[in-house]
Symmetry: C2
Subunit: 305 residues, 2 copies
């Protein structure tokens, strides 16, 4: 198991710079008043493919040997779209194992980027068996959505950019699912800033893993934050555990409220998984520092009406 370092994030930043957006950092006076602190939002909803996942995906694809012609991964949508987009940059074929309950909007997006979609059940077992079957029958290289040093290093560049643009941040709040964004943030922060993970109460395996010191299985995939239903990766957990990373939980109601707040005050579109960081701050005001960076992880939802 290869655990990436801050140098890997630095290297990834140079490697992916030609392909990704240096996303803007936005502020909202009204949201600052509501949350009671100074918030700086890194808008990865404006990133290529609509989520930070483009960073890790292109960081992997640009390191592949030229004989690789086909990739496969599993994803609820954003990583799949990102890997399909990145693969397209090198004319590599990309297949994605997608749970049957995945967002139709994200399915269309993966399809638009040229991915071949393979259905699987909602639970991890089904996901892994369908993937195993596919790899047996095809010549395809498996790219794990988050438990991969190259992916983690790529996702870390979002936090690195934010820290380069904004001085004196006390915390970075990031949503945690598999832990790619969160463990990348810990590497990028390099101990100079606290990374706080935000997780839906209905998917609190990361919370329980940090509490018990052992990686816990994922819970039933029922939170509206569809990007955060998967369980922590092994490398990801090791990095978060070494940094004694805190996990703050958010209720479904708070996630919905955060979605509305960001929409109505900032006039930008984020998906439920991205709203979890704001929701966790609303639910845990005592954990929030005075000057806080927030990674808005993605914005891939249909017009809600």
């Amino acid at each position: 198991m290869r655990v990436p370092t801050r140098d890997c994030v630095q290297a990834a930043a140079s490697r992916i710079a030609p392909y990704i957006h240096h996303t803007p950092v936005l502020q909202s006076q009204r949201l600052n008043e509501i949350v009671g602190t100074e918030l700086l939002f890194k808008c990865e909803n404006f990133q290529k493919t609509g989520a930070f996942k483009a960073r890790g995906a292109v960081n992997v694809v640009m390191q592949l040997s030229s004989d690789i012609q086909s990739l496969v991964t599993h994803s609820s949508g954003n990583h799949g779209a990102a890997l399909a987009w990145a693969s397209g940059l090198r004319a590599i074929q990309c297949s994605v194992v997608v749970p049957e309950d995945a967002s139709p909007f994200k399915r269309r997006s993966m399809d638009r980027y040229g991915a071949t979609l393979i259905d699987c059940g909602q639970d991890l077992e089904s996901r892994e068996s369908v993937l195993e079957e596919f790899v047996k029958q095809h010549v395809a290289t498996f790219i794990h959505p988050y438990d991969d040093a190259r992916i983690i290093a790529g996702q870390g560049t979002a936090t690195m950019e934010l820290l380069e643009c904004e001085q004196n941040l006390e915390q970075i709040w990031v949503p945690v699912g598999g832990g790619g964004l969160a463990s990348g943030a810990v590497l990028a922060g390099n101990g100079t800033v606290e990374v706080v993970c935000a997780e839906p109460e209905l998917a609190k395996d990361a919370y329980l893993s940090m509490q018990t010191g052992f990686r816990q299985p994922s819970l039933p995939p029922i939170t509206i934050a569809d990007g955060l239903r998967s369980s922590l990766g092994e490398i990801n957990f090791r990095i978060l555990k070494a940094a004694k990373t805190r996990v703050a939980l958010a209720t479904e109601d708070s996630i919905r409220r955060a979605l509305n707040l960001v929409f109505e005050t900032m006039k930008i579109v984020i998906e439920p998984s991205a709203a979890v960081a704001v929701a966790a701050m609303l639910d845990n005001p005592s954990l929030v520092a005075k000057r806080v960076g927030v990674i808005l992880s993605g914005g891939n939802i249909p017009y809600p009406s």
Copy 2:
């Protein structure tokens, strides 16, 4: 009747600079493909109070003599919120005559900025009689929402900023209601770029006014573009007429489609009135040039679910 010039827009730009946002210009590869041209979006939905109206309002307020303590205007929401916000900067009281069918979201916003709301009927007659009555009974200075040289000059700064940031634009598309934004754009463009007005078919008084050469009354206020229901102002019409400004119409279906497209591809929130410019391009592809600026006028809608 005082008709403003380009110099007034230049002066307004310096006057309001300390108070307003220099809003970003965004692009979307997918929207370019869908519309079939290169689009540069000036995001006034990110402006103070959530709409370009903040520009004209603060340009007026900062020129008022110090003995003025109370203002009154009429508005469906955005101008009212902008004038209330600007008045607050000088501790001036602000009252707004609001049609009974105005958006509750915009009412809350005006209220939050400290405006006193006075209800009136949906038609122009009721609006004017209620305003007249108010002015009789109170010591308040009436600020017209668009038929005012200072307002027009202020709104023109949005186009001026866009032209300063982006070279070689062939057209600027702007929504037209009362004509503050549109006539200000004509002044800022100063003949170097074509300004195309976009108007809902259900509120095509500007279109008919340009066709006939005479200012036409407003139509029944039924378009979803609630900010564009009013009729062209006198000064505004004079400026648009002198420039032989073209008006492109948009159906309600196209306005809804444009709302969804901007939401899903750009991940930003705009209100129906702002979507009219994109909708009119979808409905009139033959009128669209190769490199086009678009003013996204505002983003004041509630989360649509």
